[in-house]
Amino acid sequence: MRALVTGANGFIGSHVVQALLAKGHSVRALIRPTSDLRSLEGLNVEMAIGDIQQPATLTAAMEGCEWVFHVAGVFSYWRQPPEQLIGEAKEGVKHVITAAKAAGVCRMVLTSSSVVFGSTGQQRILDEAHPGSIESAPAYVLAKKGQVDAAFEMAKDGIVELVSVHPTVVVGGHDYGLTESNHHIVSYLQDLFKTSWIGGCNIASVQDVAEGHVLAAENGRSGERYLLGGENLEWQAIHQLISSLTGMPGPYLKVYHTAAYLASALQEALSLLTNDRPISTREQAKMVGNYYWYSHQKAAEELGYVGRPAKAALIEAISWLAASEHVSPSIRSQMELSPEIYAHRQSFGMSLKN
């Protein structure tokens, strides 16, 4: 099959490209003229210059493609005006579906997010049937929710088969732009107080999620939504895992809603002075205390998806992050990497050149 991947140079996009190539598909990568292409270096892909916000560029890029993977999107809790985030997500997917119809694309896989299925205050595992609540949700959640609803609405005519995949917190290597999920790891390492917080999430490996995308294209039922996850853990357990894998102390503190909100507000204020990305934002603080726990049983049964445990996903991520520019030299010098990290690097022949 020939597939177009939007956002192909991004974190998930570049891994989707690799998963497609590994299965013998040919790939066309939709990139912008200014895109950072480090994540696609050495891959046998055809480049198409375009932008999902510029419909005219999309039809030509999809010419001759049977599949479209719409991965492009902004994943940010910081400095993105909510209206813009939501508007661009909706408009982008509309442009892609319109172009796909015009270009005769058979099937489209939309990368959404698990957050559209909501969260709970208790330790409950949610699935695709759970109606997500948008009450006081961060802009990112609203954007994802709006995007997937708009997409299914537009694909109702069946001209293009639409399958949506909903990754959870995706971590892994070759994340040159440092997405929010990997930023969780980096910000925990940077945090003087090694703070953890209440609630939990589902951690997934980017390689599994990428593989899940291809499986969705191959085996997914049109009009269906599939959660792609890994393992459900409390934040405290996740932070303990990070500490043990990096030889860092902690976690020391566990914060609740008010402290998390105040600390995030302070971090945002400080970042105005330092111009650095804050360790956490008020948008993220609003999610503290919730359990973003999900089941990927449907994807496992219908697609053959396998999600690895959180520890394995974190090993993969830390192996790369420790050697990357995202971790400052002073933090790297405090890290004593566990033998599992070295074993992972050795067994996968991981390139350390960043």
Partner: protein, 720 residues
């Protein structure tokens, strides 16, 4: 191909310096001093070496252009410079130019470009005798300065006007300086460096003392003149004109000797200036020299009091404080040199008059000293915080070697290994402590060994981690310099000299005023088939921060990967508090502190080796911006900290502005209106939202929600 600098030298043994004092006009004193100081002999000597005719001999005069008003006494008198040009012309030396580079004040004042400044301050571009001369900008026509690898100025550029002049004359002003006590020839020489943000580049990015030594070593000054006819004295130094008639001209063919004589005439120790002290210690005065004239101090001369000097030196450790103080306290004729930004201008208007009579008004004097110490305290607090918690924001230090690599023989290098190896034997018989560290005391130094197996292939590791950089990769290295002395057949370094600067060890010593560890070492490197080693021994510590910092790092092939081991002997100077509070009386506490500190230091050093293997830089700290001050926008002249502050102030003022506008709207300004057929206007209420109040409302609303969630959580937990 870049042209090399002309290298000429005056003959040792003919060094002389004339101090001419008298009631004669300045030009006559100048003429006499030049004669007695040996200008004409020096010119002929250099002309002979360069094989040029008098009219073709390029002579460059570097005057002190630190003038902020016409007729001010903080810079060289232009009339004397032009008289010197006439004298040179009379002798047939017609290729004479005046040259300078734009100074740091160009960052905050207009009209500081060299040509404009010279024009405004009285240079006529044609002497009274009708001899035309050029004023050259030493910030232009740059070429590689040719500074050696061990110099602080390595890779720096210098104007070809300066480097390729046959004969260089530094014509300085006789004046005091708040931080250095006096600012004479050596201080004036710094002005030839090309980058405009001089304080940033040649004081903070590179250590000023090492810059001036590097410059003097590389480009000889053939003749030095000090204009002390009208001098500038008192506590304000270079910031304000405070003239005193001293009726003296000092001239000689050795810059340091001329400064030496001028400092003695001020009644000062010639080593009182840190610049001069560094140059005198590194280069020194000639073995024999002649001083002609009266060395007795000037009557009525006021030097910079120690309180001002010390507080200014401490204040100037912060680039930001130095920049602000110099701009805000300067006495400047703003009709000639307007301020580039309003803030500097307003604060200068306010503060500068308050410090007019620093020498006579105790309130102004102590106010100034207190302000300096407050600024210095803020800087110290920030630096200590960064050492402890935020190392990546510290600036790395680009310094020069303090020792001459060529002064060490092969035997000196080879002896390092035989000095270190016996320590390994002692450590072999030392049981590890609870942290797994083997260590003992030896002559009050700590001898220890630490090793770790890194599970990666040996061949990959030694290919990626350069053993010759092992010492630089030690934890908390914040700068230094390295110069290879000898290579093997494969072009690998086998002997080298290295200077390393580390953060205070342990880091919390910074709270007690602990110094940076600053050591120069000689090193020998061995490359084997399954093992590489570097041995080092400290030969000098510029700030006496270390008595011993010697050791060995080994990378050895191991079944588990690479065994990295460190053997070292260290003894660092303790801050005063820990000298008084002798922890030797609490041996168990001391042992625990020593063990924990070294374990932390060396486990982190291992992490640095791993980071280097990963292909990333293990070095903490950020580099100075090499291009700072070279842009032309006003913001490019502000220190980065101010720029950030400006962003915050912009945001806050924007919020205030919106709040004020919203309160105006609320107090009766209507929204949009429509006019009906009868001419009545129908107003609709203003629906425009206000971002500032919205943001505040959102902040407190969300905070309340978060608090409510916590309270609910507590209630749920308390329920059975």
């Amino acid at each position: 191909m870049a042209k090399r600098a002309l290298k000429t030298q005056t003959i040792p043994g003919t060094v002389s310096c004339s101090i001419k004092t008298g009631r004669e006009p300045a030009v006559q004193l100048l003429q006499a001093a030049l004669q007695e100081g040996g200008l004409w002999e020096a010119l002929e000597l250099v002309r002979g070496q360069c094989c040029v005719e008098r009219p073709d001999m390029a002579i460059l005069i570097k005057p002190d252009l630190e003038l902020f008003d016409c007729g001010a006494t903080t810079g060289t008198d232009p009339r004397l410079v032009e008289h010197l040009i006439d004298l040179l012309h009379e002798q047939g030396y017609t290729k004479v130019a005046v040259a300078d580079a734009e100074g740091a004040s160009g960052q905050w004042l207009e009209n500081r470009e060299v040509m404009v400044l010279a024009d405004l301050c009285g240079y006529q571009f044609c002497t009274p005798n009708g001899n035309e001369y050029e004023v050259l900008d030493l910030g232009e026509s740059l070429m590689d300065g040719g500074f050696p690898e061990g110099s602080a100025l390595r890779n720096s550029e210098v104007s070809s006007h300066w480097l390729q002049a046959h004969f260089r004359i530094v014509f300085s002003k006789n004046k005091t300086d708040q931080a250095q006590c006096f600012a004479l020839g050596l201080n004036n020489l710094l002005g030839i460096l090309p980058l405009r943000a001089k304080t940033y580049h040649y004081h903070h990015r590179l250590p000023q003392n090492e810059v001036v030594v590097g410059l003097l070593e590389r480009t000889e000054v053939h003749f030095a003149i000090i204009d002390a006819y009208w001098s500038n004295h008192g506590s304000q130094g270079t910031l304000r004109s405070n003239p005193i008639a001293t009726h003296t001209i000092i001239a000689g063919n050795h810059l340091l000797l001329a400064d030496w004589a001028a400092a003695l005439k001020m009644g000062l120790d010639p080593y009182a200036s840190q610049l001069n002290a560094a140059a005198l210690r590194k280069i020194g005065l000639p073995k024999s020299y002649q001083l002609y004239g009266d060395l007795s101090p000037y009557p009525g001369w006021k030097n910079v009091p120690i309180h001002v000097r010390e507080s200014t030196r401490k204040r100037n450790e912060s680039l930001l404080s130095q920049r602000l103080a110099e701009a805000w306290l300067l006495q400047v004729n703003t009709s000639l040199f307007p301020f580039k930004n309003i803030l500097d201008g307003q604060i200068n208007n306010l503060l500068s008059p308050l410090t007019t009579d620093l020498d006579d008004h105790p309130m102004a004097f102590w106010g100034m000293v207190t302000l300096n110490y407050l600024l210095a305290g803020a800087q110290h607090f920030q630096e200590t915080w960064q050492i402890l918690y935020d190392k990546d924001r510290l600036y790395r230090k680009a310094v020069a070697l303090n020792v001459n690599p060529n002064s060490f023989s092969t035997e000196d290098f080879e002896e390092v290994e035989s000095y270190i190896l016996p320590f390994c034997n002692i450590l072999k018989h030392t049981p590890p402590d609870r942290n797994g560290l083997c260590w003992r005391y030896l002559d009050d130094s700590v001898l220890f060994e630490y090793s770790k197996i890194i599970p990666v292939p040996y061949s990959d590791f030694v290919e990626r981690v350069d053993i010759s950089r092992a010492v630089e990769m030690m934890y908390d290295n914040i700068g230094g310099a390295r110069q290879a002395v000898k290579h093997d057949g494969k072009q690998r370094t086998i002997y080298q000299v290295e200077r390393d600067i580390y953060l205070p060890q342990p880091n919390w010593m910074a709270l007690f005023g602990g110094e940076y560890i600053d050591v120069d070492k000689i090193e020998v490197i061995r490359y084997g088939f399954s093992q590489q080693q570097i041995f080092w021994r400290t030969v000098h510590s510029a700030n006496n921060s270390a008595t011993f910092d010697d050791g060995m790092v080994t990378f050895a092939k191991d079944p588990g990967g690479v065994r990295v081991s460190i053997v070292a002997r260290q003894k660092f100077a303790l801050p005063l508090f820990w000298q008084v509070f002798n922890i030797d009386y609490l041996p168990k506490v001391k042992d625990a502190l020593v063990s924990d500190s070294y374990i932390r230091f060396f486990s982190r050093t291992m992490a640095n080796f791993e980071a280097s293997y990963e292909g990333r830089s293990p070095l903490v700290g950020k580099a100075f911006d090499m291009a700072f001050g070279e842009g032309h926008g006003p913001s490019s002249m502000l220190p980065p900290e101010i720029d950030k502050l400006k962003g915050l102030l912009n945001m806050l003022s924007g919020l205030v502005e919106k709040l004020v506008n919203s309160s105006r709207q609320a107090s009766g300004q209507p929204g949009s209106w429509q006019q009906d057929d009868l001419g009545y206007r129908h107003f609709s209420p203003s629906t425009e939202s206000n971002p500032a109040t919205d943001a505040l409302r959102q902040l407190f609303g969300e905070l309340a929600t978060a608090a409510k969630k916590d309270i609910n959580l507590l209630n749920n937990q308390n329920q059975p």
